[in-house]
């Protein structure tokens, strides 16, 4: 009846903490980590699963030389976060493996976001537009039902249990009959496929009507729109005949909310030269329109933004100042009790503060092109990313993977046009990224670097992507270090984003 009795001691006495620290005299092993100077005195250290520490230079030096004594205050922090392994405990290896698997598990799902350019036509003529658009009467730029049908076949070849179909343009509502066709066809295919199927329409809302709203309600379709700030700024950035884009957008948002639900619509902003210095006005507009947060978005070097030279209108440091001012103001709102999120920070914070990976396409390595998101153009051409088709509209077809009428799923997914940029840009093996402590928070961005420097890797010391990203990583860490309440707010944001 009695099982063996492990661990009984002969004498009832207690041993000191020192007795349990004894084995540590035989030293420790370093687990994989990276370090980068943080400020004049300190370094930031990260491991591959995104845990980080800020330590002063002498401590880092002693640590990497294997001389850090167990009674140094940093020792237990380094051990707890799995930067070192000593003979007292080996379970850290198992935990690291578990965390690495958790961070990478999204990749196993493969392509989840499928974008359909149902029409290139648009009623707006935004100078920062990333897609060269056509005036809204040219039917030649609409997707056909045959192309949609072929594209859907490819969508359901993806093994992902979650499939999100996003309608893009141009202005997709200008080809609403095709949206109806695709939604109904996808749902019918899904009766057997049983994926978690979702739909989003990215629209300026200027032309939404009751029939469209009713269709969205019945099929539980989400709406994503553009709101650049208060009326004057929004209308300046987003001209359309009648100069009434702001009014139409706000009316549209309210109609969507009352028909589909409060959180069925979200808005995105783009920062133009005119936006700089007005971040507070922009955020206030989002607060006024009762949004739960804002995504402060920089401009991208594609499409009309290049042709009109709007992209060159401000530099990284101007953008960062805009972003930091905005973040300060948002934190002020939160401190005063108004819960409001900056979504880009939330994505990065999820990487820093949780064991999960939020899977944001621009901050993934391997890059999210093709294997995270893929786009089916109006003419049946398949691109590795939205930005990839924008480049194509400018004449650079580097990211063209094939055509739904000519190529099989295997030909598209295994094409060199997809595999080469993913492989070459993989951050952990790219010069400079491989040594950068911020790599676990960052991503490979082969399309951006190809567009700006002509190759998938780019030149990191002069990369604007690198400058902006690192600036934000440092700033977020600094904010958390100096203020316990900011850390609390950030933890809440992070857990919302994953």
């Amino acid at each position: 009846m009695h099982s063996p009795r492990p661990g009984f001691r002969a004498v009832s006495k207690f041993e000191s903490l020192f007795a349990y620290e004894k084995p540590l005299t035989d030293g420790y092993k370093l687990l994989p980590f990276r370090f980068t100077p943080f400020d004049d005195q300190n370094y930031v250290l990260t491991n591959q699963v995104g845990e980080f520490l800020v330590l002063d230079r002498p401590t880092v030096e002693t640590f990497v030389r294997h001389h850090l004594p167990a009674d140094n205050p940093a020792y237990n922090d380094l051990k707890s976060k799995h930067f070192l392994l000593d003979s007292d405990s080996s379970v850290g290896i198992d935990l690291l493996a578990l965390k690495a698997r958790t961070k990478l598990r999204r990749f196993a799902n493969f392509t989840g976001l499928h974008m359909f350019v149902v029409s290139l036509r648009c009623d707006h003529s935004c100078p920062y537009c990333q897609v060269s658009r056509q005036s809204d009467d040219k039917i030649a730029y609409d997707m056909s039902t045959e192309t949609a049908e072929k594209s859907l076949e490819l969508v359901f070849r993806s093994p992902s249990p979650n499939i999100k179909i996003e309608f893009q343009g141009g202005e997709p509502l200008l080809n609403f009959p095709l949206i109806k066709f695709i939604v109904e066809r996808a749902k019918s295919i899904n009766e057997l496929q049983k994926r978690n199927l979702q739909f989003v329409i990215a629209t300026n809302l200027a032309n939404i009507n009751d029939e469209m709203l009713e269709f969205c309600r019945v099929h539980n379709i989400l709406i994503s729109t553009s709101l650049d700030g208060p009326a004057d700024l929004h209308n300046k950035n987003r001209p359309r005949p009648g100069n009434d884009s702001y009014q139409r957008t706000i009316e549209g948002i309210n109609r969507v909310r009352s028909t589909l639900g409060r959180n069925q619509v979200n808005a995105l902003m783009t920062t133009s030269k005119a936006s700089l210095g007005r971040v507070k006005d922009i955020i206030d507009e989002y607060v006024r329109q009762d949004f739960n947060g804002i995504f402060l978005r920089t401009m991208s070097p594609y499409g009309f933004a290049i042709k009109t030279k709007w992209y060159e209108a401000y530099h990284s440091n101007e953008w960062l100042k805009f972003y930091f001012d905005g973040l300060d103001y948002i934190l002020e709102l939160n401190r005063a009790g108004h819960v409001f999120v900056e979504y880009y920070a939330a994505i990065i914070l999820a990487k820093m503060l949780t064991p999960f990976e939020p899977g944001f396409v621009d901050l993934r390595s391997p890059a999210g092109i093709g294997i995270g998101a893929i786009i089916y153009n109006y003419d049946g051409d398949v691109y590795a990313s939205d930005e990839g088709r924008m480049l194509a509209e400018m004449g650079d077809k580097t990211f063209l993977l094939g055509n739904v009428h000519k190529n099989t799923y295997e030909e598209i997914i295994l094409s060199d046009a997809l595999l080469a940029p993913i492989e070459e840009s993989f951050a952990a093996s790219v010069p400079m990224c491989t040594d950068c402590a911020f790599e676990p928070f960052c991503g490979a961005n082969p399309v951006f670097h190809h567009a700006t420097t002509g190759d998938f890797v780019g030149h990191k010391p002069t990369s604007e992507f690198c400058e902006k990203s690192m600036g934000i990583f440092r700033h977020l860490i600094e904010l958390m270090r100096s203020d316990v309440e900011v850390r609390r707010i950030f933890t809440k944001w992070a857990n919302q984003a994953c």
């Binding site: 001691r9 167990a70 949780t354």
Partner: protein
């Protein structure tokens, strides 16, 4: 404090050589006859229905009310709380009575063994290296007598997993007789490092069974020191990973004292990063009994002094969407924003309040003290008037 165990004033007509018997108390005078033989009737107002296996009377002058010739148990006023549906063990050899189950209580725990493979600095139930396997049968006899509408029962030790197959037998019996009763087990989790052992536990398939496992630090040396056993940290973590691999419900328990409070925020972060899938985290105040009394100098810290660590740990866990509770703390010591996490966790039979609590309007909502806290408690206890 309730007396759960003591001597009877007198036992009548029990064979003196008999082993302990486990018996359910009945206070219904119209009880169907076939059930009476196995039950002990609680005599209250002089009425003595026939046919019960035994009769219990409580109080000095109640002795005369037992029917002649029947087995009778006379108890002192300490046991006046006994009521219909409770279960007691009578041990005639040394005149002993122990209350095993109280139907009106939400705090019914069964000690499964006093043996343990830890030797914690603050153990409230110091381990004994004895053969106490008789307890297994007592529990197996008790379970069928428990009211099936009981919300929860607990199993503690010692270390219950040292029972091996007998632990699983008891849990299966509980599942069979009490399918709607939640089970809570306190274990150090080490033996679950063996996945086969963890699979046997999971195979019980109880729909509402949680196992509470202590982690006292994010650092192996400190945890091993607190439990006075090498390799405890590694084995416990591996045990938790195996249990969660098998979809078992796991709670992490942590006792805050002088040796553990400093790294409380780091422990919270460790849980968020490494064990984010646990079902509950309980951060507990010290109970001053057992080994804690002997080690009071190295354990005691006034809870007022670790409030900032507690705040950081609780907010980090809660903000990271992990269920967290504070046990065994008085509201007047806690930041108001921590009140929603504070639970009235102390078992009813040993839950008390101090003279400082006189007139406090939050007493109803406050967890109060262990009765053992008289030895030492915070010097910042203050009534909300």
């Amino acid at each position: 404090m309730l007396t759960l165990s003591g001597h009877a004033l007198e036992l009548k007509n029990f064979p003196s050589d008999s082993r302990g018997t486990v018996v359910r108390i009945c206070a219904q005078k119209d009880r169907p006859f076939p059930l009476r033989e196995r039950e002990a009737f609680l005599v209250t107002n002089g009425e003595v229905p026939e046919g019960f296996g035994a009769y219990i009377t409580v109080g000095k002058d109640a002795r005369r009310s037992a029917p002649t010739g029947s087995k009778a148990i006379f108890l002192s006023d300490e046991f006046s709380y006994l009521a219909d549906g409770d279960v007691v063990r009578i041990w005639p050899k040394n005149n002993q009575v122990r209350v095993l189950y109280r139907r009106n209580s939400h705090h019914n725990h069964f000690l499964m063994t006093e043996r343990c493979n830890h030797y914690c600095l603050m153990c409230s139930q110091p381990p004994k290296d004895i053969d106490d396997s008789w307890i297994i049968n007592e529990i197996l006899q008790t379970i069928p007598l428990i009211d099936p509408s009981t919300r929860e029962i607990g199993f503690t030790g010692g270390e219950p997993t040292l029972l091996g197959e007998d632990l699983f037998r008891i849990l299966r019996t509980a599942k069979s007789y009490l399918p709607n009763t939640a089970i809570h087990i306190l274990s150090n989790g080490r033996l679950f490092k063996d996945i086969e052992f963890a699979k046997r536990y999971a195979a019980i398939g109880h729909p509402d069974m949680m196992i509470g496992i202590p982690i006292y630090s994010d650092v192996s040396t400190i945890h091993d020191y607190v439990v006075q056993s090498d390799n405890a940290f590694d084995e416990t973590i591996r045990g938790i990973l195996n249990l969660k691999r098998l979809n078992q419900r796991v709670e992490i328990r942590m006792v805050i004292h002088q040796q553990t409070y400093k790294r409380l925020p780091q422990l919270a972060e460790f849980i968020v990063r490494n064990l984010t899938f646990v079902d509950h985290v309980a951060l507990m105040g010290l109970e001053i009994t057992g080994f804690t009394k002997a080690n009071l100098d190295i354990l005691w810290i006034d809870p007022i002094e670790y409030q900032s660590e507690l705040y950081r740990a609780v907010s980090l866990l809660a903000d990271s969407r992990i269920q967290v509770s504070i046990y065994n703390h008085q509201l007047c010591l806690l930041d108001k924003c921590l009140w929603p996490f504070a639970k009235k966790s102390i078992s009813d039979w040993k839950n008390e309040y101090m003279p400082e609590c006189e007139g406090c309007r939050e007493k109803e909502n406050c967890g109060g003290f262990f009765s053992s806290a008289k030895v030492r408690y915070s010097s910042h206890i203050k009534a909300f008037i």
